[in-house]
């Protein structure tokens, strides 16, 4: 589990700030035409202003809703499926080839097909995002279930607990750290795919749509500003989930630390 400590966070901030300062200086010294490609300071200012811009906020809320729904659907499908495939070896053997076939298909390539299937844009976007976000959760869950010590399951069985109790009390909590990592990866993937589907397929609302409109009006400052906000949201979500994992699964890190 990645752990961010204060020192490395500080170094990262300094590095980012340094790069921004260099770019700002280069722009002011005339390295490029700032009429076309705005200065760093202009972009950052726009990004800040966007947070109070009602038109942008409508789009942001739409994207956020799509993303949250996509993540929920992903979890609802991939976690039970992963638990089942992890526990029932024959089932996993049976669907493995299908998974290996479907997984490398880029979700983006499915967009034209999905557009034809759905009249509702939100459903279309959710489908595209779920298709991509499913795999990390599914694969991690299967792996987590496999990783459980057989003796941990046998112990509960010997006390007379049935397979359902063993799944609920040993398999699920034992695999939870892996499932959480899968969900964290899926959260990032889903952000990318929601915005991508908005960019490619268009629609009325959504950050991708907002960026497309800004581009047609030649507003690079708004385009880049909105893009930066998407990136910051990704970082924030990741940081929150990492913090949650570190809190909840202290036992997992301790055990992994002891084993190495």
């Amino acid at each position: 589990m990645p752990k961010v400590n204060g020192a490395s966070l500080l170094r990262g901030l300094i590095g980012t700030a340094g790069l921004l300062v260099v770019l700002e200086a280069a722009g002011r010294l005339g390295a490029w035409d700032t009429e076309r490609l705005p200065l760093v300071s202009t972009v950052l200012l726009r990004a800040g202003e966007l947070l109070a811009d009602p038109e942008f906020l409508v789009s942001a809320r739409s994207s956020l809703t799509t993303w949250a729904l996509a993540l929920l659907v992903t979890i609802a499908i991939a976690v039970p499926a992963g638990l089942l495939l992890g526990m029932v070896k024959p089932a996993e053997v049976a669907v493995r080839p299908l998974i290996e076939f479907l997984r490398p298909i880029p979700s983006v390539a499915l967009i034209p097909l999905v557009i034809l299937l759905y009249s509702e844009t939100t459903h279309m976007r959710i489908t595209v995002a779920v298709y991509a976000a499913l795999w990390p959760v599914l694969i991690n869950t299967i792996y987590g279930v496999r990783d459980i010590d057989p003796l941990a399951k046998e112990t509960l069985r010997s006390f007379g607990f049935g397979p359902g109790s063993v799944a609920y009390r040993v398999v699920l909590p034992g695999a939870a750290p892996f499932i959480a990592t899968g969900i964290r990866l899926a959260a990032s993937v889903a952000i990318v795919l929601v915005v991508t589907s908005e960019l490619i397929a268009g629609g009325i609302e959504g950050i991708g749509v907002y960026i497309t409109i800004a581009a047609s009006g030649n507003r690079l400052d708004l385009m880049i500003g909105a893009t930066i906000l998407v990136g910051l949201f990704g970082i924030l979500v990741n940081a929150l989930l990492v913090a949650g994992e570190n809190r909840l699964f202290r036992w997992h890190r301790a055990r992994a630390g002891a084993a190495t």
Binding site: T155, G160, A176, H252
Partner: protein
């Protein structure tokens, strides 16, 4: 209550135990000793229904067992792997008590009492990975004792604790089991321990394990760590078990090899 009939198990082509026959009466404490790798753990796992023996039968109260028998607790040799790292010691001990239909408060009280008995009251909130090997082993013993099973299977349960704690745990186990009328099958490689703890000592041969000796332990008076171990009867029995474990036939006058 427990009967093994021609119990055999082979892993692939490797024969681990070979036609083990054994009858254990209700309330009896039977110790099984045998050299390392002779199939003691295999025997115990067969009784617990965790592996399906390739030959013979396990009978409980006359009926063949299928799967894990009811009212059973096992203290595994790999005690640390059998504890749940996401649970505190208290929760680990309390978990099986869900099978007893107790509410949360009663479960916690019973788990706490068991931890106190093994001297871990102060460590109840600790997680297994915050404990030493000996502490983890005591948690797994506490878990089995708190469950109060009819049949208790223990696989080298006192291996990781110091000599004095070991004696205390031996006495505790005997006391708790006598109080609740439990039947115990205890595996050990310590000849001394087998004679001290057991009502009977069953000796297994080198692999593939089979019963080569079944000695009743008849010692006068209640067991006591100091006095019992000094008794002539104790010393004689210990020597006899020791000879059997080394693969010699017991003999009253001197030693014969087989």
């Amino acid at each position: 209550m427990l009967e093994l009939v021609d119990l055999s198990h082979t892993y692939g082509s490797y024969r681990a135990i070979d036609r083990v026959n054994l009858k254990v009466a209700q309330g009896e404490v039977v110790c099984i000793v045998g050299p390392s790798g002779c199939g003691k753990s295999t025997l115990l796992r067969s009784i617990a229904g965790l592996i399906k023996p390739t030959g013979g039968n396990v009978l409980l109260d006359g009926r063949p067992v299928d799967g894990s028998p009811e009212n059973l607790a096992v203290v595994f040799q790999d005690y640390s792997r059998s504890l749940y790292p996401w649970m505190s010691a208290l929760a680990n001990v309390g978990l099986p008590l869900r099978r007893r239909g107790l509410d949360k408060k009663r479960r916690e009280a019973a788990a706490m009492a068991a931890l106190e008995q093994v001297g871990l009251a102060g460590a109840a909130a600790k997680f297994p990975w915050e404990m030493s090997g000996g502490m983890q082993q005591r948690v797994s013993i506490a878990r089995a004792l708190a469950y109060q099973p009819k049949l208790l299977l223990m696989d080298e349960p006192f291996g990781s604790v110091d000599a004095q704690t070991r004696e205390e745990l031996e006495d505790l186990t005997l006391r708790v089991c006598a109080h609740h009328g439990m039947t115990i099958l205890l595996i050990t490689h310590d000849v001394d321990e087998s004679v001290y703890v057991g009502d009977r000592v069953v000796v297994l041969s080198k692999a593939p394990g089979t019963v080569v000796g079944d000695l009743p332990v008849q010692l006068p008076g209640p067991r006591d760590q100091i006095h019992t171990r000094e008794l002539d009867a104790f010393v004689r029995l210990r020597a006899e078990v020791g000879r059997l474990v080394r693969g010699m036939t017991p003999h009253r006058n001197g030693v014969e090899t087989r």
